[in-house]
């Protein structure tokens, strides 16, 4: 453990320590569940050692009967090995040096304060959700291993008679979920990236004090229209050949792709709103209070986001329907939200002006910092969270 701390300290001890490395506490919290689960399995084995046969039933059919067997020592080795291997993987992911993970496309000139690249990767690996997954996994595996030991002990040395009913799977999942929630609690609140960027660099749209403005535009994805139609057509053609079993999947997939193939993007006094082109719902809205700054940039779907549609990447997310011009928001959380849409520069300028205006209004009443914190709290209810 001490070695790990050393790495973390060196890692985080640079000039911009706050955004480089996860805190020591977080690292410990992140890798702790696996050694703990391994210790629990080892204790259970120690307690039951006298009642366990030399060969254990280790695999069970749906009806609860055993159909796979391993030596007791082998089982213990596999169980502990699996848990510790997972612990090592999680530990490495949390502690791995971030250099070399940069991707050229993500690091644009002057983009050092954006959320892609190094800080985002470091954040992802200590994000609460990531830690929760580790706890869930450790809890689930630990429960299954311990349960298997008890099932064998209950059979009283007659290993083929050991039973593990199917509902134990549900119990294991339940334990995993509870452990995951515990992990999420232990992880605490995700600390937002300190905002190193200077606001004010992006263009503004001159707007008189009494003026109200809104911007709206639709965008559609040729790739997704073609794909959606191809899926629908494929479903209808493949139907007779496959006995219609593949049809519902293809049709649903096709409709889903088509539903996301067009969007209306609106920037106004409410913030940024993304809806289907013809319907007001479902909608995604990012309120002004969550927006730090807006800008327009070029997006390459495959290179930047790994595909088309609603994309989530470490530190950024958004609707990527085509390549080219996109509206890019730097959020108060430090993440980036992107929508590919034409005339994005106008939308960005308008949003910047509106953010200025709402901040000035808040500053007059309750103080800007408070206002921003409130906005952040709102955001968790209805907004996108890129790295979830």
């Amino acid at each position: 453990m001490a070695g790990h701390w050393g790495i973390t300290a060196g890692h985080g001890g640079g000039t911009v320590d706050a955004r480089k490395g996860p805190g020591v506490r977080r690292v410990i919290v992140a890798i702790a569940p696996f050694p703990v689960a391994a210790a629990v399995v080892a204790m259970a084995y120690g307690t039951l050692a006298g009642r366990l046969p030399g060969t254990l039933a280790t695999h069970f059919r749906a009806d609860g009967r055993a159909d796979g067997f391993t030596t007791a020592g082998g089982f213990l080795a596999v169980a502990l090995g699996t848990l510790l291997a997972f612990g090592a993987v999680f530990g490495l992911l949390v502690l791995a040096p971030t250099a070399g993970r940069r991707t050229g496309s993500a690091r644009r000139a002057g983009d050092g304060d954006r959320t892609d690249g190094v800080p985002a990767m470091a954040r992802l690996r200590t994000a609460g959700s990531f830690i929760a997954v580790g706890y869930g996994l450790a809890g689930l595996l630990g429960y299954v291993f311990v349960r298997t030991l008890y099932a064998n002990a209950a059979a009283g040395g007659d290993h083929p008679a050991a039973r593990l009913p199917l509902w134990q799977v549900a119990a294991a999942l339940g334990v995993g979920v509870v452990a995951g929630l515990l992990g999420r609690l232990l992880a605490g609140k995700d600390t937002p990236l300190p905002d190193g960027g200077v606001r004010g660099g992006a263009p503004r749209l001159p707007l008189a004090d009494s003026e109200v403005a809104g911007w709206s535009r639709t965008v559609s994805s040729p790739v997704m229209y073609v794909l959606g139609c191809a899926l629908l057509l494929g479903g209808l053609i493949a139907g007779p050949a496959t006995g219609w079993s593949a049809v519902p999947g293809l049709l649903c997939g096709g409709l889903l792709v088509l539903a996301l193939a067009g969007l209306r993007v609106t920037a106004d006094r409410h913030g940024l709103t993304v809806t289907p082109p013809l319907l007001p719902y479902p909608r995604m809205r990012i309120p002004l209070a969550r927006i730090r700054e807006a800008d327009s940039r070029k997006v390459a779907p495959l290179r930047d986001f790994g595909g088309w549609g609603y994309r989530m990447r470490p530190g950024r997310s958004g609707f990527v329907l085509r390549s080219g011009e996109a509206l890019s928001l730097r959020l108060a959380s430090g993440k980036e939200f992107v929508v590919t849409v034409g005339d994005a520069a106008t939308a960005a300028a308008l949003l910047n002006t509106l953010v200025d205006r709402s901040e000035a209004a808040e500053g007059g009443t309750e103080g800007g910092a408070d206002g921003r914190a409130n906005g952040d709290a709102d955001s968790h209810a209805d907004g996108p969270e890129g790295t979830a």
């Binding site: 009494s210 003026e211 109200v212 403005a213 709206s216 609106t266 409410h270 007001p280 005339d343 308008l350």
Partner: protein
């Protein structure tokens, strides 16, 4: 498409909405066949009454710049070219100037008619 209105201005809000859309068509940021935001959505965006936006849309329809269809919303017509939108704007400018000079509506129409009656090239 950017729509900006100024509630403090003496120009009716519906006309301001129409002017914004016309301007967007004139500068080419909205093209033929493009769908305008639903009146309800635009009204919510700007914080004005739906009927205000509908008045603006109605005006654009009368100018031949958009089509209003039930269930399909407002669509920019094929006839709506940037030049056409600019012409409509110029007409609005003419009317505004004439009114500022105290001309009545009839006098403005007759002014235009006089211009039309004059043979080409003599203006």
């Amino acid at each position: 498409m950017l729509v900006r209105i100024d509630p403090a201005s003496s120009v009716p809000l519906g006309d301001q909405v129409a002017a914004s859309v016309r301007g967007a068509i004139a500068d080419g940021s909205v093209g033929a066949g493009e769908r305008l935001p639903a009146a309800r959505a635009l009204a919510a965006s700007l914080g004005v009454n739906v009927h205000t936006v509908l008045r603006g849309y109605q005006r654009l329809k009368e100018e031949g710049l958009i089509e209003l269809r039930r269930g399909r919303g407002a669509v920019v017509t094929g006839a709506a070219s940037p030049a056409r939108a600019r012409l409509t704007d110029a007409a609005a400018g003419l009317i505004e100037q004439a009114r500022a000079l105290g001309l009545t509506d009839e006098e403005i129409v007759s002014l235009v008619r006089t211009g039309l009656d004059r043979p080409l090239g003599t203006g």
